[in-house]
Amino acid sequence: MAQVLAGVPRGMRRRGLLGLAALGGTAQAQGAGWPTRPIRVVVPSPPGGPPDLILRVIAPRLQSLLGQPILTENRAGGGGLVGTAYVARLPADGYTWLFTTASHVNIPPFNDNAGYDPVRDFAHVTLAAQNFGQALVVHPALPAQDLAGLLALARQRPGQLTYVNAGNGTASHIPAELLQAMTGTDLLSVPYRGVAEGMTDLLAGRVDLFFVGTQIAVQHVQEGRLRALALTGARRWRGLPAVPTMAEQGLPGFEVVNWFGLWLPAGAPLGMVQQIHAAVAQAVEDPEVRRQFDAQGLEGVAMPPGRFADFVAAQARIAQDIARRVGTKPVP
């Protein structure tokens, strides 16, 4: 089926797919007898990290829907490169999946030897869940009450406002670079080994701003130890209802959320991809899954495969642009 559709333009293909799925994608995949043995899901980050936790929430539901055990295998290393490149080289028989974050597209542009192409080497199954974006937080001593104030300050002191960079291509880095690109400002990146170290320096006022996960920021904002200026998602988050989005503050189109997706190696049969997507779509509607997601500041999405493929390609282009821009900057 994949071969038949390969020459069809993308828009038509998507509409066609929906029709085919309705016709009986599941029947077709069941005819092939898949799955007949346990499925292994590679998570290219350490156990207990966000993708690992999300997978552990939805795996029991997928297991009962697909009728086979689903086993998690953590292959951490190189910000996700090691495990992802490993899956890219495996046969597309549907028994090895990849479950990871936006770093799937965001890390490779910053590495010469990524070992995989995030768009071409994979069959894009679905975006399972996403968060509400990062919170742009500053130390209260910084005289900026909102995004406009921060930008004014950044223009006054070009190259002097510092931001926490917990690794190139990570959720703390991408929105900071996007902000600079969209506003023509120049912020100074201070690299940290992890979020905790960076947060410490922000709380003590040694650095100026940080795009940090909403869950980590919320109590410090409530206590007044930090000031939240904006959220990077498309919508406000109920945990910090008074904090407006970047788009609301004059940067339309600024949308960076952390998302969690599922892939198979390229060449996986379309019926199989659709069957997995249908199972994920059902799993994220489960009340217990929704409760867990809500507690972790997430929402279930289950984006259809066609749209997900376009989404991944677009995100990869954004990351490449950012990497090019960073590459031309002088190193301090």
Binding site: G77, A196, T200, A204, E223
Partner: protein
């Protein structure tokens, strides 16, 4: 709620039969994973996370804390018996611990480690109960400049392990610094010394290097130089601490605990630095007879101090997690995600919003600590008997153990190649009398020092005076200078006078 009221509330919850059961299960699991190579508390708690869907929060956290403390107790066992440290905090314990085991004093070494862990765990838990929020505010004042100065202070401790020849010792140190350079340079994002191998982007694991140099290197060296025929079975020796052992251990336990706890609280402190400083301090403070045992037959002070420092630091790590919501170790990060799956966001408001949970958790730390020392002391005899295994079998076992453990770190064949490659280097180092401990110290301190220095200079926009104009940084640098030059000046002055 003040600490006393909180604790009595906490104990009333922790001492129920169910919760004691969770604590016992956690302690047992923790001791097991502490002894087994390659599986740490972080992985164990991650695998236990799904129980958060079924078990109430209190029970789950008591279980996790039991695992956490249990792994700290178990961690020193392999360091001492097999010279195979399971985590970076017990690398220094292996220096004297393995030598003591080799000279028939495995029992006292294990016992002083277990009781030292109890002392440190108790002091650490007292610190969490009464000092947590205060210490954390002080810890926040330490920035990259101060951390850089702290690394300089720690580099002084290298002198304690350099051995007879400064040239050989420093060569080892520089080998460690080079190994520490491997991986992505954080400032520019460029890979360094990775040769296009993605597994090396995160750098070389320091535990791997310690196991390779200490255990694999020694085994290979023995296989190379061992003369056939002369088989000796080691004596188990006495198992418990003698009166003299006890007298020599008490000081190091307390000094190590008091040194370790603040480092654990510091967000970039970790467990390695205090173990090094404690080793250095104990070596300098030991009586002249005890000093002769350092590096030869193994000195009990060199086990008691660093092991206590390691455990107190590990306890201290809970403070930034509970009071600021900042996970500063892998284990703390996973506990944080457990909090989040209950819909609880740890942070400055946790003690008010979840007082029940927090105080029950702290109370169960006391309970777990007591359970562990009762559980572990009888095990000393069992463990020490491992050394009666004949040498060929024992060393073959160590190789198997090291290999499984290393593969367990990240399921990577690259790691095994590194283990045996560095193991071969370790064999040659032993053959030609190069000390191996400076390699590990260089590897731990090098990257931390580089990172702190470059952060400090980025924040100060390239102004080098930041290291001497900040009072904290200046004070630590002066202390390092005194530690380095003080003994020499004193000796010169004593000669003149």
């Amino acid at each position: 709620m003040d600490a006393i009221a909180g604790l009595s509330l906490g104990f009333s919850h922790a001492l129920t039969l169910t919760n004691l059961g969770w604590a016992l299960l956690g302690c047992f699991l923790g001791t097991a994973v502490g002894v087994l190579p390659g599986i740490g508390p972080a992985l164990t708690i991650a695998l236990l996370l799904p129980i958060t869907f079924q078990v109430p929060a209190t029970g789950a956290f008591i279980l996790f804390c039991g695992v956490f403390y249990g792994a700290m107790y178990g961690g020193s066992t392999t360091s001492i018996l097999l010279n195979t440290p399971g985590e970076s905090g017990s690398i220094i314990t292996a220096l004297e611990g393995a030598k003591m085991a080799r000279s028939g004093r495995a029992g006292p070494a294990l016992a002083t480690a277990a009781i030292g862990s109890f002392v440190a765990g108790t002091i650490g838990t007292l610190g969490i109960s009464f000092l947590g929020p205060v210490v954390v505010d002080v810890a926040l004042m330490l920035g990259p400049a101060e951390y850089c100065a702290l690394m300089v202070l720690c580099f002084v401790t290298v002198s304690a392990v350099l051995g007879g020849s400064a040239l050989r010792g420093l060569t080892s140190l520089f080998l460690g610094l080079v190994l520490g350079l491997v991986g992505i340079d954080l400032q520019t994002g460029q890979p360094r010394l990775t040769f296009g191998i993605p597994e090396l982007l995160d750098g070389v694991n320091v535990v791997l290097v310690a196991v390779a140099l200490f255990a694999v290197g020694e085994t290979l060296h023995l296989a190379w130089r061992h003369v056939e025929g002369r088989q000796e079975v080691r004596q188990v020796g006495r198992l418990m601490l003698s009166r003299a052992d006890l007298r020599r251990s008490v000081g190091p336990w307390f000094r190590g605990s008091l040194l370790g706890f603040p480092f654990g609280v510091m967000p970039a402190g970790g467990t390695e630095m205090p173990t090094m400083l404690s080793y250095y301090a104990e070596r300098k403070l030991a009586s002249p007879e005890a000093q002769k045992e350092f590096g030869t037959t193994g000195a009990i002070e060199g086990v008691a101090g660093p092991e206590a420092a390691n455990n107190a630091a590990a306890a201290g790590i809970l403070v930034p997690m509970l009071t600021l919501g900042l996970p500063t170790s892998a284990t703390a990060a996973i506990m944080l995600s457990a909090f989040q799956s209950y819909g609880i966001n740890p942070g400055p408001l946790l003690f008010e919003q979840q007082a029940d949970l927090v105080w029950t958790l702290i109370a169960s730390l006391y309970v777990a600590n007591l359970m562990l020392v009762v559980l572990n002391l009888p095990l000393v005899g069992l463990w020490a008997r491992i050394l009666t295994v004949p040498q060929p079998q024992l060393y073959a076992g160590i190789l198997v153990f090291a290999t499984i453990g290393t593969y367990g770190i990240s399921n990577s064949v690259t790691d095994l190649v590194l283990l045996y490659g560095i193991g071969l280097v370790g064999m040659l180092m032993r053959r030609f009398d190069f000390p191996t401990a400076p390699v590990v110290i260089g590897m731990i301190l090098g990257p931390m020092a580089e990172q702190a220095m470059r952060q400090a200079l980025t924040i100060s926009q390239g102004d080098w005076t930041v290291f001497v104009t900040r009072p904290g940084s200046l004070a630590i640098l002066l202390l390092a200078l005194a530690a380095l030059a003080g003994p020499r000046l004193y000796a010169a002055w004593a000669r003149r006078g």
